[in-house]
Subunit: 255 residues, 2 copies
DNA sequence: CCGAACCGTTCTTCTCTACAGAACGGAAAT
DNA sequence: ATTTCCGTTCTGTAGAGAAGAACGGTTCGG
């Protein structure tokens, strides 16, 4: 009960708490466990689970509950409506095949970046993050590419709103330092990431500037530093990323 | 209010109604539209949207609301926990490349089949359904493969629970007819679909029998009849599907 | 083989939440 | 400039959802 009346629906929050808890848990959970963790009564948990089950969001095996793939359905539906996703998918598959490394599409959501499509190369590195997850923008190459493509005032907004966490020692946490980096990204049209998200993982990315101003996006390639290091120049990975971005833009504007 | 007390949470249902309505709508919707469609007051819609927004499930552009990719995140998390998905993904990419046609993994959920991974071939046909969607089991090849791998009594349960809808004139709607078909699927270890889901689209599938009894699964290949017709024999597509299933089973049991 | 502990479900009582509807205020349209 | 539309805020009230006890099935441990 804050002094700011917050017209927010408790029941919905409880249901979402349950759904998220089930999704995060590696294995199915029972009513008592959930009730304890959320600090509500068992009957409440039971009623919410019944509701979620009736709606197809939760499955029951014996007396354990687990999430269904219903939310994947909602997610796919939502993603399918994003024009840049439609255009980028195939192109990212090609990029992954050509570069031999994992290729990703990031989209801006609020003040964070969402990996919207991940094309894993056959022998490539698999990122820890999953499609749909929200990640800080300042710790990876596509995030920086997205940031650099924003107008200056929005960059400030985002940097203010985001807490500049540092997953590794290489992460830039100073706004000033970051903004300097972003200027050079804007000049070069490519962003790099050198172990700022995961130790030993590097990335190249570029913004996908599109007429669809609703969805600010970037694509990139990432992988272990020892695999990618020499190949930046030899095989011109940055060039491949740039030309892929170009193709996506062409596909987007031509339709 | 039915005579059966249904301990179900209205607020949660309203929130899910909103979320699903936004997901299904091709473009963002306003408060009034949503209130009209759901037949609730505007303030209720507003409160629910605020809640969903605070939780990151809904975005607001101007005064239109749209779903975020948050549910994709939940969905990916859930899917990542399914062992057969982990093993099948790469193999399905290979199958799609080798066969040149879209390859899919279906998993049984309640009494329906869920396309859990779709590997689209470069020039292949794109299915109308999306990952996570629930589809009837009797209208496609992987569905039939899943059905045939179930014990007889469960087949009856599923056929009773499902309404045997007929999207095309080729769909089998008679339980007896279907069960006869399932027997031959069990004998041959491959299931076929000949335009029973979409006119002119055919498929081959086989069950992935796994030690993970929680997830009954099948993989398959599908595409336009005129592309696949001769190639069944020439390139032995059914054989490719079978050997892919074998590899997946090996990968699953070896870990 | 029996008893105790556990857990999911059902049920009842009561409080407070979530709903409807009105009022407000800003933007867009005529 | 005036009207209309729509999102947001506010308020009273009915009824829904929370808590907790009680039930019944299953699974332990003795």
């Amino acid at each position: 009960m804050a002094d700011t009346p917050d017209y927010t629906i408790d029941a919905t929050e409880t249901s979402l708490d349950l759904l998220e808890m089930l999704a995060e848990s590696p294995d199915p959970l029972g009513v008592t466990t959930l009730a304890d963790r959320l600090d509500v009564s068992k009957s409440v948990v039971h009623n919410h689970l019944s509701t979620l089950r009736a709606r197809g969001y939760v499955l029951k095996r014996g007396n354990r509950y687990e999430p269904s793939l219903r939310s994947l359905s909602l997610g796919s539906q939502t993603r399918a409506k994003i024009p840049v996703y439609q255009s980028a998918r195939q192109q990212l598959d090609n990029l992954a095949a050509a570069s031999g490394e994992t290729s990703v599409l990031f989209v801006l959501e609020e003040t964070e970046g969402v990996p919207t499509y991940i094309a894993e190369a056959a022998e490539g590195w698999s990122p820890q993050y999953r499609e749909g997850e929200r990640l800080p923008l300042h710790i990876n190459a596509p995030g920086k590419a997205i940031l650099s493509s924003l107008p200056d005032d929005r960059i400030d907004d985002v940097l203010d709103a985001a807490d500049l966490v540092a997953p590794t020692s290489a992460t830039m946490t100073e706004p000033a330092e970051l903004k300097a980096a972003l200027r050079s990204v804007r000049d070069d049209t490519v962003a790099f990431c050198r172990g700022e998200q995961y130790e030993g993982i590097v990335g190249v990315a570029t913004a996908v500037s599109t007429s669809d101003t609703d969805h600010v996006a970037a694509i990139g390639v990432c992988g272990p530093v020892d695999r990618l290091n020499g190949r930046y120049l030899e095989e011109d990975i940055a060039g491949q990323v740039l030309s892929t971005a170009k193709s996506i833009q062409v596909a987007l504007t031509s339709q």
